[in-house]
C-alpha cells in the first residue's frame, strides 16, 4: 500500500514536471536568447544558462521601424476590445445568471457556438464590409472583431461570477431601501469586481495575442502580432526571439494573475 502510493507520487510528479518543461522550456529559451548578445543565437552548442546577458537584441527590436507604433496599436485595440466586451458581455452574463427566461439554455449554447465559425471563412466578407464602412486598416475594425471573438468568454465568465453571488444579497438590499439598480450597484457590482477584472484581463490577452484577423484587416496600422508575423520571414533570427519575448511577456504576467478565475469558466462551460 505504502509502496504503491510512493510509486504513484513519483509518476505524478514526473508527469507534472514533464508537462511544465514542455510549456516552460520554449518560453525560457526565447527569453534567454532575447537577452543574449546577437551572435549567441548562431553559436553552437547553444548556451543554456544566462551567462552572458545583454539588452542589445531587445533594444534592436524595440527601436526597429514600426515596433512602437504597432505596440501602441495593440494596446489601443486591446483596451477598446476590453471595454466594449465588458459593456456588452457583463449585462448578458448578469441576465444569464439572474433571470429565468424562455430559451436561456439555448442562448448559452448559441453563445458558445459562435466560436465554431472559423476566422478564415469570415475574414474576406469582414474585410469587404469594413472597407465599405471606411473602417478598414484602423484599430477600431480589429477591436470590433476581437470583441466578437472575446464576447463568448466574457459572457460565460461574468455569468459564473454573478451566479456565485447569492441573489439573496440583492433582495436584502431591496428590502432595506434599494431599487433593483442601486442594489446591483451597491452589492453585486463590488462583489463581482475581482471577477470582472479577471474577465477584462483575459479579454486583453485574447486581443493582444490575436494575429489572423489583425493581419487581414490592417495594412499600415499593424498590431504587434500582425507586424511580427509579416516581418518575421525577412528578419534575422535574433530579431524573432526578441519579438517573441516581447509578445509573450505581458500575456504571461496577466495569465498568472487571473489563472484562479479560469477555473470558474471551466466550471460553467463544463456543466
Amino acid at each position: 500500500m505504502k509502496g504503491r502510493s510512493w510509486v504513484g507520487d513519483v509518476l505524478w510528479y514526473a508527469g507534472a514536471i514533464a508537462l511544465a518543461l514542455w510549456v516552460l522550456a520554449p518560453i525560457y529559451l526565447i527569453g534567454l536568447l532575447a537577452f543574449s548578445p546577437r551572435m549567441a543565437v548562431y553559436r553552437w552548442p547553444r548556451p543554456l544558462l544566462p551567462l552572458e546577458l545583454s539588452v542589445e537584441t531587445m533594444r534592436f527590436f524595440v527601436t526597429a521601424t514600426g515596433t512602437l507604433a504597432a505596440t501602441w496599436n495593440s494596446i489601443v485595440v486591446a483596451l477598446f476590445t476590453m471595454i466594449l466586451s465588458l459593456i456588452l458581455g457583463a449585462p448578458a452574463g448578469y441576465a444569464l445568471a439572474r433571470f429565468f427566461f424562455p430559451g436561456r439554455e439555448a442562448v448559452r449554447m448559441g453563445i458558445l457556438m459562435t466560436r465554431m465559425f472559423p476566422m478564415a471563412i469570415l475574414s474576406i466578407p469582414l474585410a469587404v464590409t469594413f472597407i465599405r464602412m471606411g473602417l478598414y486598416d484602423t484599430p477600431w475594425a480589429v477591436a470590433l472583431v476581437h470583441t466578437a471573438m472575446a464576447l463568448p468568454f466574457v459572457i460565460l465568465i461574468t455569468a459564473s461570477v454573478f451566479t456565485a453571488i447569492p441573489r439573496d444579497l440583492e433582495e436584502a438590499a431591496m428590502t432595506l431601501g434599494c431599487s433593483p439598480l442601486s442594489a446591483f450597484l451597491r452589492i453585486s457590482l463590488p462583489l463581482a469586481l475581482p471577477g470582472l477584472a479577471a474577465a477584462a484581463l483575459f479579454t486583453f490577452v485574447i486581443s493582444w495575442n490575436e494575429v489572423f484577423a489583425a493581419a487581414i484587416l490592417t495594412l499600415r496600422q499593424r498590431t504587434l502580432p500582425a507586424l511580427v508575423i509579416t516581418v518575421l520571414n525577412e528578419s534575422p533570427l535574433y530579431f524573432r526571439f526578441a519579438g517573441g519575448f516581447f509578445m509573450v511577456a505581458p500575456a504571461l504576467v496577466i495569465l498568472l494573475i487571473i489563472r484562479r478565475y479560469l477555473f470558474h469558466l471551466w466550471g460553467v462551460s463544463g456543466r
Binding site: 438590499a173 432595506l176 431601501g177
Partner: protein
Amino acid sequence: MAGVRLEGVRKTFGKVVALREISLTVEDGEFFVLLGPSGCGKTTLLRCIAGLERVDRGRIFIGNREVTGLPPRRRNIAMVFQSYAVFPHMKVYDNIAFGLRMRRVPEAEVRRRVERAAGMLQLEGLLDRYPAQLSGGQRQRVAVARALVMQPEVLLMDEPLSNLDALLRLHARAELKRLHQETGMTIIYVTHDQVEAMSLGDRIAVMREGEIVQVDAPMRIYEAPATVFVGGFIGNPPMNFLQGVVEDGEGGPVFHLEGHRIPLSLAGEVSSGQQLLLGIRAEHIRVNDESHPGALPAEVLVVEPLGAQLLITARIGTQTLKLSLPPGHPVAPGQLLWLSFPAEAIRWMDARSGRAIPASAPGSS
C-alpha cells in the same frame, strides 16, 4: 407598527401553484408564525408580503395601506433571510447601518441607532469585523440587527434559526421572544419546526400545499387540530389516530374500535357505517395496570425512557399508538395496559376528509 391583511393571494411558478388562495389577518404587535412542512409555500408567502414576489391575484395590506403593487422599499418592512444575506464586503457596522443610510438618516443618528441595535443583540465588540470573521450565530444576529434598526412596521423572518446548531437555537429562540416583548413589533415568522412555532407564536398558521389549514393560538392548535394533518404535524409524539366505524347503539351512535365500543360525543352529524378517527394526545390517555370497566387492553411493544417521561408504543388490535407514563413506572414489552380516553380529550375526525368533527359542548349532552 401595523397589522397585515391578505385577501385571496395566489402565486404560481409556471405550473407549480405555490399559494392557492391565502386570506389572513395578522394583528398589530402580534408574533405570528407560519408553520408547515418544507415546500408548502411559507417562504413564497413571506416574499409576497415583502414584495420580492409579484402575486398573481389577491391584495396585500400593511396597516390600512394597500401595498400589493409596491416594491419592497416602499412597504416599510424588514426581512431576515434564511441565509442571513449579510453583505460580505461590509463590516458589521456598515451592514447594520445600510438601510438607514439608504434613507439618508444623518450619520450621528445612524451611529446612535446602530449602537442601540448592536447592544440589544450583543454585537458591540464585533462592529469592526467582516462577516467572514463571524460565527453562524453572530451572523444571524447581524441580520436581525440590520432589520431591527429600520424600525419597520412589520418584521419578516424566514427560518432564522434553522442554520444554527441545537444548543444555540434554543438560546436564540428565547432571545427572539425577549426581543419581541421589548419592541412590541409585528413579526411574521416562518418555520417548519413545530416546537419553535409553539414556543414563539402568539398565533400559528399551519400551511400545507399552498393553503392555510388552521390559524389559532398554539395551545388550540395543539389540543384541537382542525385536521388529521395538523394533529400529526404538531406535537412530539404526534397525536394518535385510531380508526373505527360508527354503529348504532341503544343510547345513540357509538364508535366501534377493534372490537370495543366507545361512546360518541359529537355535535356534528354522523351516520352508521361512517369511518371515523379517534384522535388523542399521548399524555391525555389514562393508563391503568389492571382491567376496569370501559378500559381497552393494549399490549406494550416498545418502552423509551426520555428522562421526564416514559414514551410507550402500544398496540390495540392491529393499530399502534403512543402514550406516556411517569418515569420509573414499572412496565415492560409484552405487558398489558388498560387505557381509557377521557371524552373531553378526544378529537374526532372524519376518516375520509381528514377534518375534525366538532365535539358537543361540555354539559350539553
